[in-house]
């Protein structure tokens, strides 16, 4: 229990940085003590502004950082399409104006004005494009390049245009030029400075970049001043003259119907100015190292902030500031003391990187350059006077060395004797190891050591797992190649080749094998291994094939064709324990059980002397059964109405529930009823790994549904469906797949989701890692399951219907078949003699196994 009143944080702005703040507040537990209200001005939730240009190809949905439009944590509330107009620092309130919704009469209700209290205010208002005071800048056809709405407008205007101009040849300007090229316009870039990307590149690098860019059909005009935008109402062209010439000197007109301003950004600090918070001379709310303004209740982060007087126009420093403020609110020590302004990106298909002291401003700094005009490569290293340390550099055309070079700057690692080797073409360059402390992902501050730790200690087996575990490469993505190399290098150093084949007997992946079995209709291991494998199989491929066959047919797993393929536990329909005895778990759907059934479990446990324990899945585990006792124990259970709980299978385990609206005064839906229905629907479904579900009756989430492979949380309007959660060594929180569903839609989405997983996941891959490694991740799952983009929906549902219809209790069927019961004997020639190595002692009034004496001959030391 938290004592005291909950505090309220109001976040102004829902761009990338405001979103990161909310995310960090949830992840780091700040929402345990604080409610968070986020107010966003744009009509949609935060999206990836760094990747804005890909909107043309991918659309808004793909860029979204919060596709469901709401946070999973109900203590964070997001209000969009609303503007904060005033801050009252005395009353500690903000005034918010929301535009009228379509349903409201414009004349009587021009927009709602609301006032919200805050205990803590976080300004994350970002920056606005700077539009230089060029005559004619208000004409039709003039745009900026900042939001999805801007892009929509540019796209619409381009349909009537043949050529376009971007004013500004910086990073963002080239992005905008790329967009105009994609829209089919003859494209010009106009830059006042004598070269492109003047902040990051030197003259030689700029010239190299121009050659690349012009090859793509973009005409570059550097060193020119914009005089006037021509046209009556709509733009017809831009008049320019050479920089350095007098006014009145000859001018030139570049024809265009679209003009995009991309001449830099300015912090949006007006709210702070109006409430008398100090701003930096060049703009931006002045904050200290904790990103706190002079008012201790107000913080500023991202592009609207100026820590120490400097504004940072990149996302990584903004993320760092967001984390620092969450830390400060948790009384942590974090501080923001400046940022790595290194840049690496692909502009119009050209690699460009600039890092550290790229312009050799350090006293005595020396420059080493390599240029190949033919292939368009330019590389420069800036080294210290003694040639021992790398200070910075520029790479154009080939930035592959960036992953090694930039960490060398931050770590201060000594340079090799011939530093030029680092930028010479690969054939003559010696490979250079990266130090462990080198930062690989600057967006999320992940070092090489963090990545190696994830691979060697945390069980990450591929890039997807490393990304999920460390967050490396999940923001701008520029380090993914480096992460991949590190992962592969690690496995290569262990003598392992990353091979997706199932085992030595099959080169196919589980998914490929699943398809092969489906296409050929195989039912026997022998046919499959003869046609598609080698040898006689092993403990990896045989259970995998048994699982695939079980998913595609409804045949009993102990039929002669498949009995020998089953893994230890499936083979005896029970869970083997350390002394060779088994545990028994009857199904208790949704955790609901009658007193009569509870008594039966107690009686069976008492009569067979079994140890009993309540499981995490809301059922009861009975331990210490000898293999030959299993049929008799199950006879009692089946007679009392129990069935197999499949605790032994890679299959659905339980659907956990809270008591829901039936009893709980907070519940809004019948969570127990739904949990039972889902558990009975998916019971016995064989899958690549175990499957768990949960249903919570309200947002308090007492069933911990988001820690499950599929979690359902009740809302006032229906159900929210979350997927990809698990506990265990690498816990994962399930993420929202779809919201406010009626029960029928929920079940159809779940049918599709589970069958899609069963079909395509690797062996022993939980849903979380499966989603992570799918190309497109959760968005891809949503496309297939919700949007039915592959047209597979009906087929997946039909497969699930076949499973549901074909379900029969494995234990009841086994008890009815003498052939299947034959295997349940201790010794084939002495069926009544118990295994003499099994012995028990008593602890806390129940049995416990006595550790078997290890046999002396050949036993491990």
């Amino acid at each position: 229990m938290v004592t005291g009143k909950r505090q309220r944080i109001v976040v102004v702005g829902h761009g990338m940085v405001g979103h990161r703040f909310a995310q960090a507040a949830v992840e780091r537990g700040l929402t345990e003590t604080h409610d968070v209200l986020v107010i966003g001005e744009e009509p949609r939730a935060a999206y990836d502004r760094v990747g804005l240009t890909s909107w043309f190809g991918l659309g808004s949905e793909a860029l979204s950082l919060l596709p469901g439009g709401e946070y999973d944590d109900p203590r964070v509330r997001l209000v969009l399409d609303s503007v904060v107009t005033e801050i009252d620092r005395v009353q500690k309130t903000v005034t918010v104006v929301s535009p009228p919704s379509a349903a409201v009469d414009l004349l009587t209700n021009p927009g709602a004005v609301t006032v919200h209290d805050y205990d803590v205010l976080v300004l994350a208002t970002g920056a606005a494009p700077f539009v230089p005071p060029v005559e004619g800048r208000g004409k039709d056809g003039c745009f900026v390049y900042r939001t999805i709405e801007d892009l929509e407008a540019i796209k619409a205007a381009s349909e009537r245009a043949t050529s376009g101009i971007v004013i500004g040849g910086g990073l963002l300007g080239l992005e905008a030029a790329n967009a105009l090229v994609q829209l089919g316009l003859s494209t010009h870039v106009v830059e006042m400075a004598p070269r492109l990307m003047p902040v990051q590149l030197d003259d030689a690098a700029g010239t190299t970049l121009v050659r690349h860019v012009e090859k793509l059909g973009v005409k570059v005009h550097t060193g020119v001043l914009t005089e006037e935008i021509e046209g009556d109402d709509a733009v017809t062209g831009l008049r320019v003259r050479q920089a350095g010439t007098e006014e009145g000197a000859p001018t030139e007109v570049v024809e265009a119907q679209v003009v995009v301003f991309s001449a830099g950004i300015r912090p949006r600090d007006a709210l702070a100015r109006e409430c008398d918070l100090e701003v930096a001379p060049r703009g931006g709310v002045l904050v200290d190292e904790q990103c706190r303004t002079a008012d201790p209740a107000i913080f500023a982060i991202g592009e609207c902030a100026a820590p120490g007087g400097t504004m940072y126009g990149l996302v990584a420093p903004g993320y760092a500031m967001a984390e620092v403020v969450v830390d400060a609110l948790l009384d942590g020590p974090g501080s923001f003391t400046g940022a790595d302004m290194s840049t690496k990106l692909k502009l119009l298909g050209v690699d460009v990187a600039s890092f550290g002291d790229a312009f050799a401003t350090t006293e005595g700094a020396l420059e080493l350059t390599y240029a190949d005009a033919v292939s368009g490569v330019y590389k420069k290293l800036v080294v210290s006077e003694d040639g021992r340390r790398l200070l910075g550099g520029i790479l154009v055309g080939d930035a592959s060395a960036y992953g090694i070079l930039r960490p060398m700057v931050s770590s201060g690692l000594a340079l090799p004797d011939n530093p030029e080797q680092l930028i010479l073409p690969a054939s003559s360059g010696a490979p250079m190891g990266m130090p462990d402390e080198a930062q690989v992902c600057s967006c999320n501050d992940v070092t090489k050591a963090d990545i190696l730790h994830a691979v060697s200690e945390q069980g990450c087996e591929d890039v997807a797992a490393v990304k999920q575990c460390t967050r490396a490469g999940t923001t701008c993505g520029s380090c993914v190649a480096t992460v991949k190399n590190l992962v592969e290098e690690h496995f290569a150093s262990q003598g392992l080749v990353v091979d997706k084949g199932l085992c030595e007997h099959f080169r196919l992946t589980r998914q490929e094998l699943f398809d092969v079995v489906a296409v050929h209709g195989y039912r026997r291991f022998d046919d499959i291994v003869e046609a598609h494998g080698t040898g006689r199989g092993c403990d990896l491929c045989k259970p995998a094939i048994a699982s695939i066959l079980a998913s595609q047919t409804s045949t009993h797993i102990l039929e002669p064709a498949t009995a020998g393929l089953q893994d230890t536990n499936d083979k005896y329909l029970a869970n083997i324990q350390r002394n060779g005895t088994y545990s028994v778990v009857p199904r208790i759907p949704g955790g609901e059980i009658t007193p009569e059934k509870l008594i039966v479990i107690g009686e069976v446990a008492r009569d067979y002397g079994l140890y009993t324990k309540i499981t995490g899945g809301q059922r009861i585990d009975l331990f210490g059964a000898r293999m030959e006792q299993l049929p008799a124990i199950w006879k009692r259970l089946v007679d009392a109405g129990f069935e197999s709980g499949h605790a032994y299978g890679k299959s659905l385990r339980t659907v956990k529930s809270c008591v829901g609206s039936t009893w709980c005064r907070f519940g809004v839906q019948d969570s127990v009823g739904l949990a039972i229905a889902l558990e009975l629907r998916y019971r016995g479904l064989r899958s690549p790994h175990k499957l768990k579900g949960g249903v919570s009756g309200c947002a308090r989430e007492c069933a911990e549904a988001r820690g499950k492979d599929f979690g359902v949380i009740a809302t006032e309007k229906g159900w929210n469906l979350y997927v990809g959660g698990n506990g265990g060594a690498t816990p994962a929180h399930a993420r929202l797949l779809a919201g406010d569903l009626d029960t029928e839609t929920l079940v159809s989405y779940l049918d599709r989701f589970l069958m899609y997983y069963v079909r395509t996941a690797d062996r022993l891959q939980r849903t979380s890692t499966w989603i992570e490694q799918l190309e497109g991740g959760l968005d891809r799952v949503r496309e297939v399951v919700v949007d039915d983009a592959l047209g597979l929906g009906a087929e997946l549902e039909a497969e699930m219907a076949r499973h549901v219809g074909g379900y029969a209790d494995e234990w009841a069927e086994t008890l009815a078949d003498p052939a299947k019961l034959e295997r349940f004997v201790s010794f084939v020639n002495a069926p009544d003699t118990p295994d003499p190595t099994i012995a028990f002692t008593t602890e806390r009034d129940q049995i416990q196994p006595v550790a078997p004496a290890l046999i002396p001959v050949g036993a491990p030391a």
Binding site: C538, N579, G580, M627, F827, V857, G858
Partner: protein, 115 residues
């Protein structure tokens, strides 16, 4: 060498599933009897040396390279059905037994000498 040792009849050969195993009690000792895909019969001590549990007969029978193996149901180490050698740990070996099939009956003989 072991010509004077008696063999114990444990079951009919059909009782041992193809690519599977059964446990038998031979002179009070648990022995696992296996049959491979080609019908060949093998016998090893039933005790899994890594866990100390008497469970090897419940393992999955298959192959590693050309070697017929059973993998322990407990921690999955593979044992050579012919010799009892553990393929995952050179220092470990389980006892292999002489075994034959006479008139459709499996006879388990003496423990094999380790060569």
């Amino acid at each position: 060498m072991s010509a004077t040792m008696t063999s114990t009849a444990v079951c009919t050969v059909e009782t041992v599933p193809l690519e599977g195993g059964v446990a038998a009690l031979v002179d009070g000792v648990a022995v696992a009897v296996f049959r491979t895909h080609d019908g060949a019969v093998f016998a090893l001590s039933n005790l899994d040396p890594f866990s100390g549990a008497s469970v090897l007969s419940r393992g999955i029978v298959g192959s590693r390279g050309d070697v017929p193996v059973v993998s322990s149901p407990m921690y999955k180490q593979a044992f050579d059905l012919r010799t009892g050698a553990c393929l995952d740990d050179d220092a470990v070996r389980v006892t292999a037994y002489d075994v034959s099939v006479v008139d459709g009956v499996v006879l388990v003989g003496a423990p094999r000498e380790v060569t």
